[in-house]
């Protein structure tokens, strides 16, 4: 029996995604957000100070400062959006197996939101069909990961179960195999999540505090 995820063999060049890695990438994303936001705000303020008639251009600059972070947050939230074939005839059977893997509260939450909540060493995970969100300890940051099962014919709940089992075998290995898509404040991701998924993020934040 082993506790290393076998899929790690497919990404030998990647550094293992542990708590230090997540902290470092969280800071990089924070700095990156400031880097592409602050210059637009300063440019807008400068234009207004130099020439009030430049207000329309200043507004465009401010819009850039708003829209670009929103696009990144949208990209992050999109990792857990439903994707691929629904395979409706097989879904009830897959839902039964997934339900067996979850505790009572997590099962109810998954059925309402489509996301399986999993408490683990790095924080609290929300596992979707083709991606996962990790709310780190303290609930100040969410990391968004693109990761999926390789069989496209699987019903949605089986895709979630695939990711959940891999996560339970080796959490850091799971995060290493996944592609990191975004890190940012939970409120930024929450606004871009489908409405029915937001209670899952609220629950994960509460559990991570």
């Amino acid at each position: 029996m082993e506790q290393a995820l076998p899929e790690l063999a497919s990404v030998p060049w990647r550094q293992r995604t542990d708590a230090d890695w997540l902290r470092r990438w969280g800071r990089i994303w924070h700095g990156w957000t400031l880097l592409y936001t602050v210059p637009f705000v300063l440019a807008a303020a400068g234009m207004l100070m130099l020439e009030p008639l430049a207000a329309p251009v200043a507004i465009v600059a401010l819009a850039h400062a708003w829209i670009i972070p929103e696009l990144y947050a949208f990209r992050g939230a999109s990792v857990v959006r439903p994707k691929g074939a629904r395979n409706a005839p097989a879904e009830p059977r897959a839902q039964g197996l997934l339900g067996d893997l979850l505790a009572h509260e997590e099962r109810d939450l998954q059925r309402r939101t489509g996301l399986a909540l999993e408490r683990s060493g790095l924080g609290v995970w929300l596992v979707g069909e083709a991606g996962a969100l990790l709310v780190t300890r303290g609930a100040r940051r969410v990391h968004c990961f693109c990761v999926r099962a390789t069989d496209p014919e699987l019903p949605p709940s089986d895709r979630v179960a695939h990711l959940l089992l891999a996560l339970r075998v080796d959490e850091e290995g799971f995060a290493t195999v996944a592609n990191h898509a975004f890190a940012g404040a939970p409120w930024r991701v929450r606004r871009r999540l489908p409405v029915q998924m937001r209670p899952a993020l609220d629950a994960a934040r509460a559990a991570a505090r």
Binding site: P6, V79, R93, E153, L165, A166, R168
Partner: protein, 74 residues
């Protein structure tokens, strides 16, 4: 009764069932497990709440062994 199941397009399929005392049933389950491994499936035992173990051989004492496809970054 222990079960070997595979997650697939039908939801899941029961491939084999065995008891600790039934050698023939366990041997058939081992054979099925090896066939699935050769097809690229990965054996996982959900052995405790929040925990699972990757297995390369079918553990006789496990109650449930799930064959899954590999995952990859999306």
């Amino acid at each position: 009764m222990a079960r070997l199941i595979r997650m697939d397009g039908t939801g899941h399929t029961t491939l084999a069932e065995w008891t600790e005392r039934d050698d023939a049933a366990f041997a058939a389950a081992v054979s099925e497990f090896q066939d699935q491994t050769e097809l690229g499936y990965i054996g996982t035992v959900p052995d405790a709440p929040g925990r699972a173990t990757h297995v390369r051989e079918l553990p006789r004492e496990a109650e449930l062994v799930i064959m899954r496809r590999p995952i990859s970054g999306g």
